[in-house]
């Protein structure tokens, strides 16, 4: 069941389009914002609300990178692995994060605090290497900066 709040937000977004189903991606993002990720149940909830089939919603959900169809930790660390960051030291960033958190891409720390994922160029190439934690961009990364950045997320 979608919450009243979720429904309200979805309604606002779908009002921007001439048809309801067009709000599917928005709905997925809204539900994810509230629930952390998009479960099978969430897919069904959205499908029902938008008058779509669960299969059709899932087809869309699985197409997009920013929709998580598996549980994630409280915070998602998305590390840019595109070309400028790669040149500027993505490997070191990734290694440091991996050691710090004890996880690889796609994994979640045992305390459920962080999930680490690769991400496409964050448009921060002049301050590479970069990563995003939740909705915050962190740039010019080095081990110290990474450590202090992670501190903020409990």
């Amino acid at each position: 069941m979608l919450t009243a709040e979720e429904i309200q937000e979805i309604k606002t977004e779908t009002a921007h389009y001439p048809k309801r189903e067009a709000g599917c991606i928005d709905a997925l993002k809204i539900v994810q914002r509230h629930r952390g990720w998009v479960s099978d149940e969430s897919v069904r909830d959205i499908a029902e609300y938008l008058g779509m089939s669960a299969t059709d919603v899932d087809s869309i959900a699985t197409f997009y990178n920013l929709i998580f169809r598996r549980p994630v930790g409280r915070h998602v660390v998305m590390v840019c692995d595109s070309v400028s960051c790669w040149i500027m030291g993505y490997d070191r960033v990734k290694k440091h994060l991996g050691e710090r958190l004890g996880i690889d891409h796609g994994q979640t720390t045992s305390d459920d605090r962080f999930t680490m994922l690769p991400i496409v160029c964050l448009g921060c190439c002049d301050h590479a290497p970069a990563m995003m934690v939740d909705s915050d961009l962190h740039s010019d990364l080095n081990p110290q900066k990474i450590d202090s950045a992670l501190e903020k997320y409990k």
């Binding site: 048809k19 099978d40 897919v43 779509m52 089939s53 669960a54 299969t55 059709d56 919603v57 899932d58 087809s59 699985t62 197409f63």
Partner: protein
């Protein structure tokens, strides 16, 4: 026509089409995957690439997708250009990267479009050396098997399933080289046309799960052209068998009827033929007996008794006629239930006198405004529902044409059309699957549906009668009238499902007033044939026995308990001294027979059906005769009829209206260059392989006196006439897509014309009067319900219910009402003239109050004379 130069050869092509279509129509070997004649072009697979040149001086050219390029006048292309040959080889190499190369264990092996295209492009060496991606397969239910690792991401499945058939539970997931085609979770595919995935998928991802249970390679099967027995539409099929058991049904292309697609009941219902319970031997007084003894007993009984015969709407014309001949026309009774016989009689009267044209399914697909009066097509005439689904695209496509988007450019057309749909109006007592594409729906009791129809007719032509009681539905009726009037190709569909003569008459009035085509559904595969054959009514048969006029009843392929209330059938069968039954499967009627003769199904006999369109069509035996099972007409025929040709000749003489049956297919004497038509595909390895597990030396192949087909691989390699095509197969084209090579133009009629002879052609309108018996408005009765039938694609058809896959999917019998009195799913007792039935209730909020719909044909809901009144009470 446009002149297109293919490797400098001038070819006439249809300029309304794309180059791939044109090249294939000219027989060029141009490989393709994502394109399909019924689905159009999307340009996904890139396999159909050709070189295009600006003019005859351009030697550079550029690679284009032939499916995405119009066959415009003067276009110059090359298929053979080395660069494009290399490109196509690169494509197939790319498609095969992740393919498991599991052809030996794949059901598609040997009839696989991917195999064909791989060979056609010359790809035979594997350069890819990395890991393949793998998927988990899904359980999609009893009919369709899923093996995703074989997928080549051509997107045909979802385009067919969603865009064409309107399914919502199959889609593409994820992206890149990981696209998964399936459902969001395991489960039965919900669409009633899911089986077509088996033929749409160019490789072995979707295969026929029923075939898997008794698998045989295409080249190890023996085929015969057949006609579907599971509804009255007469879809053309090819039946494949091996070692005497039926292995599968595949689509037999008929441009006018089923085109490329069948419904799931038609494709998978065949398994009743293989049922363990099949009657394979004669039984006399509960003891197995020989055919000779059985026949002797039959002759004796007929000679000594006062005999009547009861025919059947699911038996062939020939079998009905043989029975009629055996007992004499005066003692021949139609096996159609009385209420139904009246309705069918009325429909025939309307069709015979005209002026409306009875449309083919193709006509229906091309109709631009459709009114459905009283029919739940998906459950009654499924394949017609698929055609109606296409019809709603006609008007929007006109708008698309104005944007200069070619109609074969599938995604372009869909993007331009968005959700626009042409007018489709559905008036029925309860909701139907097609409602989702309807412009408007109207829910009412049958009498009110009829009144609605009368009102539409009157709005079209004020001389058409209308009731003087006013109705609030007038506005909608007027809107429908306007739409029909403005249409280029309007259509009215009605039929027997509401069990209402008034509905049929109202539909006829609308069709006459708007000058539309008129399509009637009918309940069974040969209802129209049986009705044309005539005979006395079923209740008269019962009366004759009861009155002692007859003491012997011969019942042809007919479970009378499905036609009349149990008590009546019981007392008639009890009153008869001798009951002789012919059938495929045991049923309550055969259980009461003194003599039981094993009747051949469509797979074991030849015969002729007449479809609801009025198309006379032949089906031919696929298995060589085995044990004592044979066509009912062969059991019943007089000695001097040797073969089917004799039956047909005699029938044409006795019943001139049925002489078209002689032309439904070429006679048994037909030959191509002196040769018969082989039922078995030619095998490279030689025919001795066929039965090598039994005997190394080749046994003599059985003769077939009844048709121009042989029971072997020997015969003509040429394309037979449409009615005699046992399978589609031609050099380089081993899959069903070989059908391209059988057509005059790809996607068009078969060369030599499509199968079947139409009986009813539109007569000129001269003074045919409107029907004027307008019923009173329906008013609910206190304490009683009007009971109407509700049909189910899986469940209402008698024979397919004996197929395990269909049985698994069959609807549970129930009663549907709009009432606050009952809770959804609660047990109720329905009490009516046919008996008392205990059933769960389903609440249908859309239904008119006072009307209850009962699942028809599912035990115990048989033998009911519709419509009828009854009581419904909570079960104690």
């Amino acid at each position: 026509m446009a002149t297109v130069y293919v490797d400098n050869k001038a070819c006439e092509m249809n300029p309304e089409e794309n180059l791939l279509h044109g090249c294939l129509s000219h027989g060029f070997k141009l490989p393709y995957f994502c394109w399909h004649p019924a689905l159009g072009s999307v340009g996904a697979c890139r396999q159909c690439a050709v070189k295009q040149f600006k003019d005859d001086k351009d030697s550079q050219g550029k690679i284009v997708m032939s499916c995405m390029t119009p066959a415009a006048e003067g276009t110059r292309i090359s298929i053979a250009d080395p660069e494009v040959v290399a490109f196509r080889a690169g494509i197939i190499e790319g498609l095969m990267l992740n393919h498991p190369h599991d052809c030996p264990v794949c059901d598609e092996g040997g009839e696989c479009h991917l195999q064909d295209m791989t060979v056609m492009t010359g790809h035979d060496y594997r350069r890819y050396e990395f890991e393949k991606r793998t998927f988990r397969n899904q359980d999609l239910g009893p009919l369709v098997n899923h093996e995703m690792n074989r997928c080549i991401q051509c997107y045909r499945c979802v385009r067919y399933y969603r865009d064409y058939a309107g399914g919502r539970d199959l889609n593409a997931f994820a992206s890149r080289d990981q696209v998964f085609f399936g459902r969001s979770e395991d489960g039965v595919l919900e669409n009633e046309f899911s089986g077509n995935l088996v033929e749409i998928c160019p490789t072995g991802v979707f295969t026929d799960k029923t075939l898997k249970h008794h698998y045989a390679r295409k080249w190890d099967q023996q085929f015969a052209p057949s006609v579907c027995v599971h509804c009255a539409l007469g879809c053309n099929t090819d039946a494949g068998e091996r070692y005497g058991s039926l292995r599968r049904i595949v689509n037999r292309y008929n441009h006018e009827i089923n085109g490329y697609f069948l419904c799931d009941r038609g494709r998978f219902g065949y398994e009743f033929v293989n049922s363990e319970a099949r009657l394979r031997q004669s039984v006399l007084k509960d003891r197995p007996t020989s055919a000779a003894a059985a026949r002797q007993y039959l002759d004796q009984t007929v000679a000594n008794g006062r005999v009547i015969g009861i025919g059947s709407p699911r038996a062939s014309l020939e079998s009905n006629f043989a029975l009629r001949t055996l007992v004499g026309p005066d003692h021949f009774y139609s096996g159609i239930a009385d209420h139904e016989a009246k309705l069918v009689g009325l429909m025939l009267e309307i069709l015979r006198r005209g002026p409306m044209r009875t449309p083919t399914l193709r006509d229906i697909e091309e109709s631009d405004v459709v009114l459905i009066l009283g029919e739940d097509l998906t459950n009654v005439a499924p394949r017609m529902a698929l055609s109606v689904r296409q019809s709603v695209r006609q008007q929007p496509m006109e708008a698309v044409k104005k944007l200069k988007v070619p109609l074969w450019l599938d995604h372009g057309v869909r993007d331009a059309m968005q959700d626009a749909r042409g007018p489709l109006y559905i008036a029925t007592p309860y909701r139907t699957r097609l409602d989702e594409v309807a412009t408007a729906t109207f829910r009412a009791a049958p009498d009110d549906l009829a009144r609605f129809g009368f009102a539409i007719a009157h709005a079209l032509d004020s001389s058409a009668p209308i009731s003087h009681e006013t109705s609030q539905d007038w506005l909608m009726a007027a809107a429908i009238a306007r739409a029909l009037k403005a249409a280029k190709k309007p259509l009215v569909i009605s039929g027997t499902s509401c069990a209402s003569e008034a509905v049929i008459q109202a539909a006829a009035n609308v069709a006459m007033a708007a000058n539309t085509a008129l399509s009637f559904t009918a309940p069974e595969c040969n209802t129209i044939g049986a009705a044309l054959m005539g005979g006395n009514s079923l209740s008269a048969a019962f009366q004759a026995v009861k009155d002692g006029e007859a003491d012997t009843v011969i019942i042809l392929e007919n479970d009378l308990y499905r036609r009349a209330p149990q008590a009546e059938v019981d007392s008639m069968l009890k009153a008869a001294t001798h009951v002789i039954a012919l059938d495929h499967l045991p049923n309550p009627t055969t259980e009461k027979a003194e003599l039981l003769l094993p009747a051949g199904t469509f797979a074991e006999s030849d015969g002729t059906f007449i479809s609801s369109e009025g198309r006379v069509q032949r089906f031919l035996q696929v298995s060589a005769p085995q044990n004592e099972v044979m066509a009912s007409w062969r059991w019943l025929k007089p000695d001097h009829w040797q073969s089917l040709d004799d039956v047909l000749r005699a029938m044409a003489k006795a019943l001139p209206e049925l002489d078209a049956a002689c032309d439904a297919a070429p006679s048994s004497k037909f030959r191509i260059a002196g040769a018969k038509i082989p039922r078995s595909p030619l095998r490279e390895s030689g025919r001795t392989a066929a039965l090598v597990n039994i005997n190394i030396s080749e046994p003599k192949t059985p003769d077939d006196p009844d048709s121009a087909l042989s029971f072997s691989m020997e015969g003509t390699p040429d394309q037979p006439p449409a009615a005699l095509i046992p399978f589609f197969w031609s050099p380089n084209w081993n899959s069903i897509q070989a059908v391209n090579t059988y057509q005059k133009e790809v996607g068009g009629p078969l060369r030599g014309g499509d199968a079947g002879v139409r009986l009813f052609e539109p007569a000129p309108r001269n003074g045919q009067a409107y029907f004027s018996a307008i019923p009173r408005a329906f008013s609910p009765r206190q304490g009683a319900w009007l009971l109407v039938p509700m049909y189910h694609i899986f469940g209402s058809d008698e024979l397919s219910l004996a197929a395990p896959g269909i049985r698994e999917l069959a609807t549970k019998p129930h009663v549907a009402v709009n009432s606050d009195e009952f809770a959804e799913g609660a047990e109720v007792e329905v009490n009516c003239a046919a008996g008392t039935f205990r059933l769960p209730v389903m609440i249908h909020r859309e239904m008119p109050v006072g009307v209850a719909a009962l699942s028809v044909g599912l035990s115990p809901l048989v033998g009911i004379q519709w419509p009828t009144w009854g009581k419904i009470a909570r079960a104690k």
